[in-house]
Structure formats: C-alpha cells, structure tokens
Symmetry: C2
DNA sequence: CGGCCGCTTGATTAGATTCAACCGTCGTGG
DNA sequence: CCACGACGGTTGAATCTAATCAAGCGGCCG
C-alpha cells in the first residue's frame, strides 16, 4: 500500500518537459501580458476557471494549487493538488476544449509561472520525445483516475479522510500539513463538520497531532490501516 | 444538459485510428494466438484483468464491454462501458504499465477483435497525426473523468441512477436497455437493492417502462430533470 | 424435480448530512 | 484603542439517505 496514489497528483516530472521550462527560462517567465514576471497569488485567487478557453499552461513555483470543480449546489470537489514543479492547465490546452475545472491557490503566497499555449505547442510539436512522454503521462493519469473513482465510491468517509491525510503528508514532505478544514473536506468529498469529527477521532486515537489548523501524522501505520480498511 | 457525458464512454471514433483498423483488416483480425479470427465471449467472460501486462488492444465488434475495478470488498465499480467500434485496453498499452482494471463482456454474444501491442505501436509511431489525435483524446477523457468524479461524489444515488439510465439509453440507441440490475448498480456505485427500489420509483412515476430486465425510457425530460436535480 | 441465480420486498441499522449555535481570532473602521 | 463583524473552526442534536440483513419469488437449466 506504500506509494498508493489516492488523489491525482499532477506529478509532472517529465524530463522532456523540464527541458522545455529550462529552454523557456521558467520561472523567470512571461506572464499572460507578456511581462517577464511570475504571478503572485493569495489564498483562493483563481488561476483559471470553468468555461474559459486556455491561454497557456502554469507551472507551480511555490505554494500549492487546488484544481476543483463546482457541483450543482456550489460545493467544490477538489480533483487534484499541485505542488511546486507541477504543471497545471495543460490538459485543456491539449484537448483544445475550454477548461472544465477551476484552479486556485491553496495557500497564501503561492507563485505560478505562465507559459503561452503557443510556446508550449510549438515546443511540443518539435520534440517528438515530449509527445511520447505526454501520451504516456496522460494514460497513466487516466489509469489513476479509475483508482480515484473507486476510492470515492466504495470507501467510507473515514477511509477517504485517512487517504487524503496520507496524500497531504506526501505533498508536504514531512512538514506539518497546513490546509483549511473546508478544503480538506472538499478533497474527501464530505461535509466540513464530518471531516472535523474524523480529524478529532484520529487525534484521540493518537494517529495525528493537531495544532490549530496544522496537522502532523504520528502513526503512519495506523493511518494506512484506516485507509485500506 | 443534452450531450451530458456522465460515465466514460470510450468514444474512439478517431479518423486516424479507424484508418488503422481498416489497414489492419479489423474486424477480420488476428487474435492473441495470431489466428485470423475474432474473439467470441459470453456474459462476464474476461478480456483482460488487473495486474496483467497488456498484449494488445481490443476493438468491440458487437455487444458491449464493461471496464471495471474491484473494490476492497470485491464489489465492482464500473468505470466505462464500451460499445461496438470502441477500443478498449489501449491506455495500459500507452502508459506501459500493467492493467489496473478488468474488462469483461456485458452481454451474451459479445465479439471483440484483438490487435497486438506491437502492430498498434508501430502504426502509431509512423502516423504522427494519430499521435496528436491520441493526445487530444486522452486529454478529453481526463477532463471527462473530473466530471464523472464530481457526479459520483456530489450527486445522490437517485440522480446517479438517472444519469446512468440516460447513458445506457444513448449506448443502446433507442433499443430497450438490457443490463443486469447488479451491473447497473455497479455503474451507479450503489447496492443492488437500492438500485431496484429507484428503478421501481421511476417506473411508478411513468418515467421508464420495465419489462423483465429490459427498460425503456418514456419520459426523457423528467429523467434529465432527475439527473441534474 | 430440485436447486440455483437474479430479482424483489420489507425491516432494521448505520453512517453521514444538515441545522443551529458558539467560540476564538483577525482585520477594519469608528 | 476598542468594538464589531466576518470567518474558520468546533460541537451537539435531529434527520435522512442508503447499506445491510433476511426472506421470498420466479424462471431456467441440469
């Protein structure tokens, strides 16, 4: 169960694409107005939103980005969390369809870098290796998506909460997990109140430590157990 | 809400890939033992299963194929339904990872055609247009997958049942929907008993007609309404 | 004819949502 | 400087949806 990838992680460490960002001098990159500067974001600042046509792709420089969808009642369902180095928004560029998701900063002081659709496409079409790598990456993500769907439909809220915590622990690389209860609930796909009660349970069972909004996992084994059964 | 694509449909009507199947003389195609014959399947016969490495791709010739994942408790979650003309199993070939899903015939007398991984890859690498088309297709499917996830997490079982019925109606092209209650429940992600009760409700509300296992939608408008709210 | 499988129904239970209220903190404006 | 309000977090109680358990039905096949 180690290496279990519960929620989509936009793990975009493609050598070929990294090369692209080096070639294009990211992160000292051009923003949408062609100014050579990164984009600074506050918590919940939008990067792109549903229905709009993509102008380019965004690489997370620091902080985290949530990619989510609004349900009918307005509740957010978080589909993926992107961390520094990940690229967000490229699927819509590739599919040539409008965004069907929203992306926003998960944390204060998130910085992303913009690369125009055109620059990306030109590079892409002249680097066959990248094309192949993209096909492989997209197929993998599609495979993971089936995993994710099965987790969401078949696991209990408690299991999903455990999975989300393990995922965030990974993302935060052993630093305390710092995420709003609401965002975490939207990852898990449950009500905020329910999530809080489960966090409390895990705390009482000495599986995690909670200080304010920050959480530290102290018993990985127990949490993994909760996640799978 | 028309054209709403609730569950993944492996809508693989890529001109370039169709060309491939013409070139390769599918459906009079080679099976896994290199015999020039299609594969005949009974209901629930496996086409491929989790953990195995892909040997090639399969094109549905007649009948339907379900692609599903086993949850921890053994319950199936159906991820997609493939109809004649659709291609199944190509994602694992492209990602170069083992299958993480199972595929099986949904109906008696389902026929699929096999094309070896090698034939597919050779063709693919010599037809750049197909490469681009694949990237586009995979990205689109990934976008749809977000839609699907949001539906599964935020909609009620009743709404999801309505969505599944609309989808099956589409698949069956106005012919009566013919699917086991269990399979339908596994599409919706609910217990068989719950599904049956909802079918009964829709029947009592004169939204569908039920004759044995076959179902006909008689009030599309009402069903669409149920689906979205 | 018997037994199995898919389908159906009823009753009970459990898990999660919803509603309501309260607390503490932070930022803003009087 | 303090008061106020907004917001995120937390708790309790009531409600509801859907799962589970149990049982019966009908048809089909061996």
């Amino acid at each position: 169960m180690v290496g279990f990838k519960p929620l989509h992680s936009c793990q975009f460490c493609l050598n070929e694409l990294d090369q692209f960002f080096i070639d294009e001098r990211v992160p000292l990159v051009y923003n949408e107005e062609n100014h050579p500067s990164p984009i600074y974001l506050k918590r919940n600042d939008l990067i792109f939103s549903e229905g709009k046509f993509p102008k380019g792709i965004y690489r997370v420089h620091s902080g985290f980005v949530k990619v989510y969808k609004h349900g009918d009642d307005g509740k957010e369902q978080i589909i993926q969390i992107c961390k520094p180095g990940d690229v967000v928004g490229f699927r819509s560029v590739l599919s040539e369809k409008p965004y069907n998701l929203n992306a926003a900063a998960l944390e204060e002081n998130t910085v992303v870098c913009f690369v125009s659709k055109n620059d990306f496409n030109v590079y892409r079409e002249t680097h066959l290796k990248l094309q192949n790598r993209l096909i492989q990456e997209l197929s993998s993500e599609l495979q993971e998506s089936a995993e994710f769907i099965t987790n969401m439909t078949q696991k209990s809220v408690k299991q999903r909460t455990a999975i989300a915590l393990l995922f965030m622990h990974d993302i935060y690389e052993d630093k305390p997990i710092n995420i709003s209860r609401e965002d975490l609930a939207n990852m898990v796909g449950t009500a905020t109140e329910t999530l809080i009660r489960l966090i409390k349970e895990f705390k009482q069972d000495s599986i995690i430590q909670v200080k304010g909004r920050k959480m530290v996992i102290i018993d990985m084994g127990a949490l993994r157990k909760e996640a799978s059964l």
